[in-house]
């Protein structure tokens, strides 16, 4: 009975390619720029929040504030945004230091 030869395995295995392939390196540098942008954006947002809270605080001082909830929520948002921005900055600095300490 004739036995057909075993076809080579290599041709039936498709090589594994990384998702994205050649676009991968460009994506890394893009995400670095995005991170920088999002950090600056967070700082601008925080600044706007602080200014809004300041205005509401002054309105409350002169008795012109219409809604107590507005000031309490704005004040809380400012505190949280500050904590978030500081946390992100701390992590970024930590990561930078980690990388700098790596033996090359």
């Amino acid at each position: 009975m004739p036995i057909s030869p075993i076809s080579p395995i290599a041709s039936s295995i498709t090589p594994i390619t990384r998702p994205g392939g050649a676009q991968d390196t460009a994506a890394t540098s893009n995400s670095a720029a995005d991170f920088g942008k999002s950090l600056t954006g967070a700082l601008d947002d925080l600044d706007a929040k602080q200014k809004a809270t300041d205005e509401l605080s002054r309105a409350a001082a002169t008795g012109d504030l219409q809604s107590v909830e507005d000031l309490m929520i704005a004040s809380t948002e400012t505190q949280l945004a500050t904590q978030l921005t500081v946390a992100v900055r701390n992590r970024a600095v930590e990561s930078f230091n980690e990388i700098m300490r790596m033996q090359l």
Binding site: S57, A60, T62, M72, S75, T78, T82
Partner: protein, 113 residues
């Protein structure tokens, strides 16, 4: 940010509210005193002008005598009005203290404490 316009505004309002609270407590303590004329405190308008000039702590805290009609013994304290005013002043003080605490908390986060 530690001693900027907003911080000094809050400080000035707390001083005004404290004066108002003391006046209300004095009025209530003297609800039966013959001849006693109730007093009230106003500072919001002066504070508004002072903020525009950039000097909130220069706001004038004015004490005025009430023009409400007197009873037979010359006393013109209205207890219900004073209690209502005292409640509102206490709430305003709480609000300004919360605003101040929020600022300190934000500062501490930024400093890293």
């Amino acid at each position: 940010m530690i001693s900027d316009l907003t911080s000094r505004t809050i400080q000035a309002s707390l001083r005004g509210l404290d004066a108002r609270r003391k006046a209300a407590e004095d009025n209530i303590a003297n609800v039966q005193t013959p001849g006693f004329i109730a007093s009230s405190v106003s500072f919001e308008d002066s504070l508004r002008n002072a903020i525009e000039r950039g000097r909130p702590t220069s706001a004038d805290i004015a004490v005025e005598r009430s023009t409400a009609p007197t009873q037979l013994n010359g006393n013109n304290v209205n207890v219900a009005d004073e209690m209502v005013g005292l409640t509102e002043t206490a709430l305003r003080q709480q609000l300004m203290v919360q605003a101040l605490n929020g600022r300190y908390s934000t500062l501490r986060s930024a400093i890293g404490a």
